[in-house]
């Protein structure tokens, strides 16, 4: 029983990261109908920002070797700031890689490539500035909280519980924002039909920027949280999560917030249940799931019908 609980926790905490990541994709997708491939790099940046804001120093290989910010914030504040900084970067990505194309009415296919270009630039900038080495938030980042806690007989890492809690809070907040506030409903209106939204007096450019900011914030704080849970393994830290989350996004159904959450948790759990002898196939689980579901339900688990454009 206790191991089952532990597996459950592992699966859910990984799944929560996938879900947060996929939510970032979803926000942009629902407004623009495209996937932002720079999201993985923004996630990585979130982890690096958190590390720097908490007072971590740069190693010896990057151009910023030896740099240390003159302040050291407590973890939660650093995480929040990192989320905001990542949101800023994400808005920058929109301005450079998306807006010029949108102005010219280019096909959505092009965004895949321009956002990929933005991602390549960000990842390599991180390497040039910070080096390729790994970084870890200090072990005492959470203050008085113990490393592991015991829940119903299972020993669980505190970080995992926090990750789950934060993910739950973020999903609730996001749902509330989308459904319960003017800004959120304006965003949904743009997602539904940009032309009508404009007629209703909604500034769709501002809404698109807002969706990028929100998705960047999500990526940033999930990067920071994962950076706390696991050590930052270098400039390519977020790429693996980003690729997995891409599968999760489509599995849940493009543009669906509950779908992204559900699919994230399913994939996380499924990976957790892969027995040791088959661990080599673990990475294929998400895609195999995705593939099987797409064949049965071509729009994913909870997806809305998609128009026929590419």
């Amino acid at each position: 029983m206790d191991t089952l609980l532990q597996i459950l926790f592992n699966g859910l905490s990984v799944g929560a990261v996938y879900a947060l990541f996929a939510l970032g994709y979803t926000l942009v997708f629902s407004v623009l109908g495209v996937i932002n491939f720079a999201q993985g790099a923004v996630f990585t940046l979130g982890a690096y920002f958190t590390y720097l804001f908490i007072g971590g120093g740069v190693g010896s290989n990057g151009a910023l070797a030896g740099l240390q910010l003159p302040f050291a914030l407590p973890f939660w504040l650093a995480l929040l700031l990192a989320g905001l900084a990542a949101a800023l970067v994400s808005v920058g990505v929109e301005a450079v890689a998306f807006r010029p194309l949108r102005r010219r009415g280019a096909e959505p296919l092009l965004y895949l490539i321009t956002s990929l270009g933005a991602g390549v630039i960000l990842v390599n900038l991180i390497q040039i500035l910070m080096g390729a080495e790994g970084y870890a938030l200090p072990a005492g980042a959470l203050g008085w909280l113990p490393v592991t806690i015991t829940l119903a007989g299972a020993s669980v890492r505190t970080v995992q519980v926090l990750l789950l809690l934060v993910a739950a809070v973020v999903v609730l907040a996001l749902t509330w924002w989308l459904e319960g506030t003017r800004g959120g409903r304006a965003l949904q209106a743009v997602a539904e039909d940009a032309t009508t939204a404009r007629l209703l007096g909604i500034d769709s450019d501002a809404m698109i920027r807002l969706s990028f900011a929100a998705s960047g914030f999500l990526a940033g704080i999930s990067g920071g949280l994962v950076g706390l849970s696991l050590s930052i393994t270098g400039p390519y830290f977020g790429i693996g999560f980003g690729l997995k989350a891409l599968g999760v996004l489509v599995l849940g159904g493009l543009g669906s917030v509950p779908g992204a959450v559900l699919a994230g948790l399913i994939v996380g759990l499924a990976e957790a249940l892969v027995p040791g002898e088959w661990s080599g196939y673990k990475d294929a689980v998400a895609y195999a799931f995705l593939f099987a579901v797409l064949l049965l339900r071509p729009r994913g688990l909870l997806g809305r019908p998609l128009d026929t454009r590419v």
């Binding site: 597996i7 990976e271 040791g276």
Partner: protein, 407 residues
């Protein structure tokens, strides 16, 4: 639409012209090499892509070697030989490394150091072999690399000799160990071959792994696999991985409550693990092809050079091996030059001849390096006299530590 085929023909012609103009003639080997500024030696290491953490360690090793052997601190016999190091990014894939090798070979280098990864070596070493350019591999450890050809050698000891030592050390510390769990990064050539050796060594001691877990180099979250493994109550965990993923794995194993012995492979023999697993690195048993603790003069020199450049840090194995590869090429050139009749500089030889002689000289020589005394088998395999088993001892701050040699 008749214009399209004609257009196609035009484009094809234009394309062929571009292709032809893209292929300028390179060093054919008949004439002497261009030694302006020194004998050109190429180095191809991973400066970009997901293996750049290896490349950046190697880069500093090469730069220190270049400075050391060119500078005033060089041994007195350095008369006459100047080496010009040409560093090219080999990326983390085979295609980029191929281009880098070709660029340098056509640029007329006398020898090559690299590439960073074994998988890349399988792609590019045959090219150098066909061109007759000697290659010294600084970090290629997979089985079969020196066998690629007569011009291929390496200073990185193959996994088969290094790995089993640490298992022995773990069993000496605790002879009662019966239950062993194995982890390895199955998408990494080095870790895969090393784990095979580990498992054979365990088998010879009558230990059957209770589980063998496959991980990926790009993985960061191992909690499922760790939970799965700890349920089987292992008394020893053996890990073959690279610093980043391995460090994270160790951290998660410890955080999830494992208190037993952990043996890690040579791939994790790097201070790069300290910031990753922090205080949890403490106690790791590790087989080393390079130990910063050795007292040989050349290692002390290397240590002080590295400390100067890196603010007191301890050099990783990749840097030491890259330094050694440069040293091997440099000293071989030096000996060749010394054997030349007076008035006939080495660089007057036809390039092909120079490369052939240099290759024989590399294979024939003995070297006193930071890795200890080394030489080569006729096949190009390194014969290293000493390997080390060390235990990681972390300092109180949990961010720095050292590899303490075990007897």
């Amino acid at each position: 639409m008749p214009t399209i085929p004609r257009l196609a023909r035009g484009l094809l012609v234009a394309g062929v012209m571009t292709l032809l103009s893209a292929c300028r003639s390179g060093g054919s080997g008949a004439g002497p090499i261009d030694a302006t500024g020194g004998v050109p030696v190429g180095a191809v290491i991973a400066l970009t892509g997901n293996s750049s953490v290896i490349g950046q360690d190697q880069k500093i090793g090469l730069e220190l070697a270049e400075r050391h052997f060119a500078g005033s601190g060089a041994p007195p016999a350095a008369k006459g030989v100047k080496v010009k190091l040409r560093l090219e990014d080999g990326g983390s894939d085979e295609q980029t490394a191929t281009n880098a090798f070709r660029t340098l070979i056509n640029g007329g280098v006398a020898a090559l150091i690299g590439p960073s990864l074994s998988q890349q070596a399988f792609a590019v070493d045959p090219i150098a072999q066909r061109a007759g350019v000697p290659v010294v591999g600084p970090s290629n450890t997979a089985v079969g690399i020196p066998q690629i050809g007569s011009f291929i050698s390496r200073v990185s000891a193959p996994v088969s000799v290094v790995a089993p030592l640490s298992i022995g050390a773990a069993l000496r510390q605790n002879p009662a160990i019966r239950r062993v769990a194995v982890f390895y990064a199955h998408d990494d050539a080095y870790s895969t071959s090393e784990s095979k050796i580990f498992q054979q060594a365990l088998q010879r001691r009558g230990l059957q792994p209770v589980t063998v877990q496959r991980t990926n180099v790009s993985d960061t979250d191992f909690q499922n696999q760790v939970t799965d493994t700890l349920r089987l109550k292992p008394e020893l965990i053996v890990i073959s991985a690279l610093p980043m993923d391995g460090g994270n794995l160790v951290r998660q194993i410890r955080e999830l409550g494992y208190g037993g012995a952990i043996v890690v492979g040579n791939g994790m023999n790097s201070p790069n693990i300290y910031p990753i697993c922090q205080k949890y690195c403490d106690g790791l048993l590790i087989a080393q092809a390079y130990s910063p603790e050795t007292t040989a003069a050349i290692n002390q020199t290397f240590l002080s050079l590295y400390r100067q450049a890196r603010g007191g840090a301890v050099p990783p194995q990749f840097s030491a091996q890259a330094f050694t590869a440069y040293q091997v090429v440099f000293e071989s050139l030096q000996r060749l030059q010394a054997a030349q009749p007076p008035g006939k500089p080495l660089t007057a030889l036809p390039a092909a001849e120079l490369r052939r002689r240099l290759n024989s000289e590399i294979l024939a020589g003995r070297y006193d390096t930071p890795l200890g005394p080394i030489r080569f088998t006729p096949e190009g395999e390194v014969v290293q006299e000493r390997f080390y088993v060390a235990q990681v001892r972390m300092n109180g701050d949990g961010r720095s530590g050292r590899f303490q040699l075990l007897p």
